[in-house]
Every structure is written in C-alpha cells, then in structure tokens.
Symmetry: C2
Subunit: 415 residues, 2 copies
C-alpha cells in the first residue's frame, strides 16, 4: 500500500515552496507542462490504449469508453487548457480588504493558497491535467487519485507534468498521483486531514455522495444538478421554448442541464402542446403530473421520485402550478441548489424568483447551461460547488485560495 503520510509530507513541503513562487515562475511552469504534454503525445496515447483495451475487454459501456479515450486532439486541448490557465490573473497576493484598528494596528486580509488539495475522481483522464493546472496556478500542491480504469493514462499524464516541473526547477511534488487504486488507499486519503487541506470529489452523484459520507478531510461538494426552468404566466413563450430545449438537449449528461419544467397554469394550455412536440422532436422522454397529462395525454406519469431525480439523460418532467409562490416552494424543496431559471417579462416576478430561490446561480430568461467556469469568464473550473461554505457555483483559481490576516504593529499589547 502506498505510504500516504510520506506523500502527504512531500505535498506539504511542496506547498510551502509554491506559496513563495511569483506569478512569472508559476506561468513558466504551466507553459512547460503544456509543451511536455504535446511532446509526450505518443507515450500518453500508448498508455491510454492499455486502459482502453482493458475497459473494452471488461465490457465498459460505449459512452464511458469515449470519456476514457485520448487522441492527439484531446491531448492538444489539455495543453491549450493549461495555456489558458497560464493567461489567467494570479489570485495570490490580492488584498481583499484592509483597515487600521483603534489600537493602531494595520490589518490586511490577503489571498494565499489553500495548501494541499486532494482530488478524487472517476474515469476522465483530462481531470488529471485540468486539476493539476488550476491548483498549481493558485499555488497549491495537489494529490490526485483517479479511477482505476484510467490508471495508466493518469500515470503517463502526471509523470509528464512532473518532468516539466523538474525541467523549470520547481519541485515535482507539486503534482503527485496515488497510483495505488485500492479502496483502502482511497479511504485513507479521505482521512488524511493532517496533510490535505481540502478534498474535492469529481464524478457521478453517487460517487460524490460516497466521498462526502466517508471523508474526514474538509470537502467541497460539487456537481449534483436537479435544475428547474419555471415558465411564468408573463413569459415570452418563444424564449421559453428555445431556452428549455437548449437547457435539456444541448448536453443532457451534465449537471447544469435542465431536468424539470414548471409551468404556470395560465400559459400551460397554450404552451404545453408546443413544448411537448419540440421535446419529442429532440428525442426527449416527457414525464409529468396529472395536470400536464390532462393537457397532453401522451405524457408519462411522473412519480414522487421523479421530482427528486437528476436524470442526466434525454428525460424531463413537467409540473403545472397555480402561482409563482408555488413554483418557488416546489423548487426550493426539490432542487440541489445548483441552477434555476425563470422565464418572464414581468419585473416583479423576476425579482421575487431571484431573491427567493435558494441556489448557487439563479437566472432570468437564460439557459441553466451557462453555469460553467468558462461561460462565467473564469477561464477554467475545478467543478461547480453546490454547497454553501467557502465557494458556491463555478470554482476557478480564485476559489482555490484562502486568506490570511497580516497585522503590523509597533509594540501593541491588549489591555
């Protein structure tokens, strides 16, 4: 079994070094990492072929196989991602606020790295590179633990990044991979509070729930998205139709896709038939409550479980409500606090929905698909936080930092 204490100690030492690095040195390293990925394309693809063949042999599903596959283009995309992270502003050293106290102490609150970040994730090997890059930009050491299906790819990728770091004279322990994919080691990693400051799980809802249950290290929960679109009585129905189809169909497998539509009763009769046809034309299975089935009998009856479910698939469920208040109540009860949107031309309805819905991101007249680090302009993201502590919504490099108070005095004692 991997000696996690040793690994943790190395990460902590590396974090201390990274905390002292300037922006220039960090960016040079990110550039070197990007270049090395491109130069090592052949070796990375060979390692990935091993993973792919094993997965195929083990009867892994086609969609999953595709997520595992690395091609020269995909490796190039990873390198491009690192160069984009390089171009981002450095979040470290920024002064959030500062003031002088009554006793004459000068206090400044400054952004500093979190320290050591643990990433625990499932199959996609690109997380290895994306996470390493973003953690590094914010001056953090990272300990990576990917899924067993991608282990050879992850070793090749992380070794490539480590060699690049070495080449520019930075400790390679800034990026470490746990190459032991046993459950025991994963469990030990989740308890490594002495060395890991924050653990970020990435993967399916089930996977994240498992990590949250088992971890002792502080966690940032990401990803679960049971997102709703509410079509108000004063909605522009053309906008509503376009936004719902986009939010459901443009990429159904991701957490910011819409899973539920809530319709105000006053527009349901007019709108639902068009909506139903458009959804069906896009191969979406449509479920709904009794009221919606009274309008469109081909709708499949929704059960109580449906309102709680994130399908991540070509399925949507529709509910008809009497009022905006009822819509807000339903959404706050069943949502995962990710992204919710109201379609309305009514000022007061928009204002009320935006204030009363409890979620990381609340929209008026836009698709929930915009909840994303790139779309928000953060350049890259490590995940979308659905918890309320520390960070909420898309997390970029800035969310991988903490603060420190620096207090300058000239002999002050407390009376």
């Amino acid at each position: 079994m991997t000696n996690l204490e040793e690994l943790g100690q190395k990460a902590q030492n590396a974090a201390f070094e990274l905390g002292q690095l300037g922006t220039k040195a960090k960016n040079a390293a990110l550039m070197a990492m990007a270049d090395s990925l491109v130069l090592n394309t052949k070796q990375i693809i060979e390692a990935n072929k091993e993973d792919y063949d094993n997965a195929e042999k083990n009867g892994v599903k086609k969609a999953m196989l595709d997520r595992l596959l690395l091609t020269p283009d995909r490796i190039n995309d990873m390198a491009t991602g690192l160069r984009q992270v390089m171009d981002l502003p450095d979040p470290i050293g920024k002064i959030d606020r500062g003031w002088q106290t009554e006793t004459g102490l000068d206090i400044t609150q400054e952004r500093v790295p979190l320290g050591v970040i643990g990433m625990i994730y499932e199959a996609r090997p690109n997380v290895t590179v994306d996470a390493a890059g973003l953690c590094f930009k914010a001056g953090n050491a990272v300990i990576l633990r990917g899924g067993k299906e991608a282990i050879n790819s992850n070793i090749a990728l992380s070794e490539t990044l480590r060699q690049a770091l070495k080449k520019v004279g930075i400790t390679e322990d800034a990026v470490q991979l746990i190459d032991d994919v046993s459950h025991e080691t994963a469990q030990k990693m989740m308890e490594l509070s002495e060395y890991i400051d924050v653990l970020i799980p990435r993967g399916s809802g089930k996977f994240i729930k498992m990590v949250v249950d088992k971890a002792k290290v502080p966690i940032i929960e990401t990803g679960a998205g049971n997102c709703h679109i509410y079509v108000d009585k004063d909605a522009n129905l053309d906008k509503a139709l376009q936004i719902i189809i986009n939010a459901k169909v443009q990429r159904p497998s991701v957490c910011n896709a819409a899973e539920k539509v809530i319709l105000h009763k006053d527009i349901a009769n007019e709108f639902l038939p068009d909506l139903y046809d458009a959804l069906r034309a896009n191969s979406v299975e449509v479920r709904g409550d009794t009221l919606s089935r009274a309008i469109e009998p081909d709708i499949i009856p929704a059960t109580e479980e449906d309102w709680d479910t994130e399908y991540d698939d070509y399925i949507i469920a529709i509910k008809i409500v009497d009022s905006l208040d009822q819509a807000v109540k339903h959404i706050n009860k069943y949502n995962t606090k990710h992204s919710e949107s109201i379609i309305t031309e009514n000022y007061t309805a928009s204002r009320k929905f935006m204030k009363q819905i409890d979620a990381a991101v609340v929209y008026t007249n836009a698709s929930t698909r915009f909840t994303d680090g790139q779309q928000f302009g953060f350049g890259a993201e490590i995940g979308i936080s659905t918890q309320k502590l520390h960070a909420r919504g898309p997390m970029g490099a800035n969310e991988l930092t903490t603060t420190k108070y620096l207090v300058q005095g000239d002999g002050q004692i407390r009376l």
Copy 2:
C-alpha cells in the same frame, strides 16, 4: 427523543422568512431581544441558580462554576452585546462583484444568508445569546445545543429570545434550542445535513475534535490555539518582553494566548534571564529546550509533547533557534494555524515571517491576544476559525453568509 427532523424543517422555513427580511425589521428584533433579556433577568437567574446548584453538588470545578454563573451584570452584558450586533452593518445584499459576459448576461455575486446554522457548545450560557444574535443579524435560523450543565439557563435564555421575536411578528423558530441533552440527540444533530447548512462547535479543543470526527454536516472548526512568539535577533527586547507577558498572562485560558516563545540564539543570552524573571514574577511555569536550560538552569525540561500542546494555563515553553528559517519551520510544524507573532525591527525578517508562516493571523510587533472579533472591529464574533475553507480567523456576521450568483439575460442559450 426530540424530533430533530421537525425542528430542522421549522428552522428551514424560518430561514426562508429571515432571508426576505430587511435590515430595519432584523434590527427591531435584536432590540426587542435585548430588552426582553433585561426584563426577564429574575427568571433567568432563577433558572441559572438551578444549574449552578446542580453543578456545585456534582463537584464541578470552581473555574467552571464561574463560567456557568449568570448575574444581573452578565445578563446586561448579553443585552449590550445584542445592541452592538444591531448597530453592525447588515452583511446581506452586498454585491461582492459583477460583470457582463461575452454573451451579454449580467452576473452579480450577492451576499445571502447561509440558511440554518447549528451551534453545538459547552457550558457557557452566554453563547446561547451571542450566537443567536449574530446568526440572526446575518439572516440565518439557528439551532442551539448547549451543554447539559447549563440546560435550565439555556431554556430560559432561548425562550426569552423567542418571545421577543414573537412580539415583533417574526417567527420564533428563527431561534430553537434542543432541550434534550442526550448524546444520541447530539449525534443526530451532527448528521442532520438535510436541514443544517453549517455546524459550528464551540468549547475545548477535545470537544471540537470530537465534533469534527463525528459530524456529517459541514463544519467550521474553531478555537485551537498553540500560538508562538518569535523574538528575532533584531528585536526591540523591551517590546518583546511586554508582548510576551501580555500574550501569556493577560488571559491565559483563551485560544489567542501565547503558548510558546522562540528565541534567536543571538539575543538569547541577554534576553532569557529577564524573560524568565518576568514570567516567574507572573506565576508562569517555564519549560524549555536544552539550550535555554543552559542559560537558565531553573527552566523545566520540555518534552516533544510540549511543542504540540495548547496549555491554556500559566505555563509556557521556550525554544532557542539558529535562524529565522528554523523558527518558521518549527512554527509551521507545530502551530494550530491560529496566531503567530514576530518581534523584530528588521524589515526583511518581518516580511519573510509574514509571508512564510501558515496561520489565520500573522503579527509583527504585537500581542497575539488581538485575534478577536471585537479587537478586529467586527463588533462581535461567533468564534475564530482555524481551518482554511470558507472563513479564516475571527468570524463576524459577514462570515455567516454565503453568496448567490444572479444572472439576468434576455433569452440567451448556449451554443
């Protein structure tokens, strides 16, 4: 056993209501709570007498008895505390940042309440009032679970606050006390993730560690303080002496008191005898390493365990180092990331210490005793966070909030 689900549901409903309240309504409620405390002084003191007599009968230590005791003055202080919280700026509704995206979406990141805060704490009944006031100011519902020694006092205090809320027309469920002091109920509270957004433990280091180990709800860890004062070779030794005595002796039982002194070898011969005499004159037991005992043989030998220990008592341990680097290394290894201070007149030494020490608050030429919400100017504090997620250092009303992204569009879909 208390029905915690029901209590949690009530708290969640209350949190929704509080989230919609304006500053004026919240301040009127805080004023009413303060007034009610003063008016109910007699009943509160009667309830407290019961707790006090029980504790005395059970042989509780004198220092502990004093922490439990309520007097008219102490109740008045709690009321004053609430009025101070009333006067603080409202952290809710503040826009942290805002921008427009390439697709024409207007994004603002706004401060909103956390929702439901759980407080789990030991004996001191004033936490009941302080926590309720600060949570309420930031628009949060609070679920309180105090120690069994103070149960009668806590019931009297929380009922007083609830009556005051009722009087001003705000749901009394904004403040709820778990009056069942069994361990089973405490354990269930720590697992109530569906209803409690954040759990904040207050009490001894041992108590907090227990909560961190057992809780499933996200936690803000507070309080452990193994604080160091490093006296540099270029220190003003008069300042150093005053600051060390203040940081150790002014209130030794609290987390921001100094527990360790690190001396640079170049000033140790001159400074240690004076320091030793001053500490002994203040009844402080002095422990130290071999080098310090070579200078002052009456110093008690320190063991490895000493460097790790938060005494919270009239004890201090002294270590002599060769260099600033060695001091930084020692402190980063043994500190609890609370508060650390360098005493120096040297610009570069100060800058280096401030940058390299990993702690919530780092000082130059000041006592660690300033790490405190009141001293920082936050008006009140709910605790001092020693973790890196969410909040670090003294936590005031602002730290009891999270953010929400509000996104305004006019039909945007993602391409």
